[in-house]
């Protein structure tokens, strides 16, 4: 199971499209969230997910410095779906509580 921040990063990566560099993903998160995340935190999260195989990376041939371009992989999409479904399940439970449902179901 991935963490909330990783979930948000994967969602931003989906929104940014394939072959997105870290600055583009940061821009997506910044425009979508009320409080922008730390750039270093985002970069570390992407780097970790590359190591886990949730995100694939290629080098930008056009860029002199060979920027890393990131794309979400199948494993990343699966992890994102699981996290999204889990959030939904918890949200619906919270909804019941708010409407007067008992804690024991």
């Amino acid at each position: 199971m991935i963490g909330k921040f990783e979930e948000l990063t994967l969602l931003a990566l989906v929104k940014a499209g394939p072959d997105a560099h870290a600055a583009k993903v940061f821009e997506v998160l910044e425009t979508s969230l009320e409080k922008a995340p730390q750039f270093a935190a985002l970069y570390t999260a992407i780097d970790r997910m590359v190591k886990k195989g949730m995100v694939s990376e290629t080098k930008d041939e056009k860029d002199k410095r060979g920027k890393r371009l990131f794309t979400i992989t199948g494993a990343g999409r699966k992890a994102l779906d699981e996290a999204y479904n889990a959030t939904h399940a918890v949200n619906s439970y919270g909804g019941k509580l708010a409407l007067g449902g008992s804690f024991n179901g």
Binding site: H21, A22, A23, A40, A41, T44, R48, R65, K67, R68
Partner: protein, 180 residues
């Protein structure tokens, strides 16, 4: 002869500024220019327009006409553009003008010397390349130089710290697997 007097032997791009040139070449490129001068122009100049460029261009439109000044707009025609770029030495002169403007316009980036010492090159190079984009396109315009510099240094410090915490955690995990 007075410097401000327009002259026929001087290329009309003489007084075209960096921004106007970018606009001109963008139109040039959009028209599917395939001539050698067009290709050369495309290679020389970065045709990407930022929001700041467009804002500055709109401000430029308010400037009063000056002798020898070339006005360009997004609707500059293909023929007019070709004519301008075929003017003798126009590309070379424009390159010089653009180089001068670019050097002036480029914000001096804060130092990242210590960060580069602390983090492997493979990671620091890409991180700094991306941080440069965020710094110049977002923080500098939004917060000003002082706060943007503080953000730059804080992000570099956080990145270095996170990198080494990750390495230590990985090492401890590996050791724990061996022992237990």
């Amino acid at each position: 002869m007075d410097e401000s007097t327009p002259s026929m032997d001087k290329p009309p791009l003489r007084k075209l500024n960096n921004l106007g040139l970018k606009m001109l070449l963008r139109t040039f490129d959009a028209n599917g220019m395939t001539s050698p001068s067009g290709r050369k122009a495309s290679e020389i100049f970065d045709l990407t327009l930022t929001e700041r460029d467009i804002a500055a261009f709109n401000a430029l439109k308010e400037e009063p006409d000056q002798p020898g000044m070339v006005r360009v707009s997004l609707s500059t025609g293909f023929a007019a553009t070709t004519e301008l770029l075929q003017t003798q030495n126009a590309i070379d002169r424009a390159t010089q003008i653009l180089d001068g403007h670019t050097k002036k316009a480029e914000p001096a980036l804060p130092s990242a010397f210590l960060f580069e010492l602390l983090v492997p090159v493979a990671l620091s190079g890409d991180f700094l390349a991306n941080l440069e984009i965020v710094y110049s396109e977002k923080w500098l315009t939004r917060y000003g130089k002082r706060q943007a510099n503080m953000l730059w240094h804080s992000q570099c410090a956080r990145m270095a710290a996170r990198h080494w915490v990750d390495r230590i955690t990985e090492t401890f995990t590996a050791i724990r697997k061996i022992i237990w």
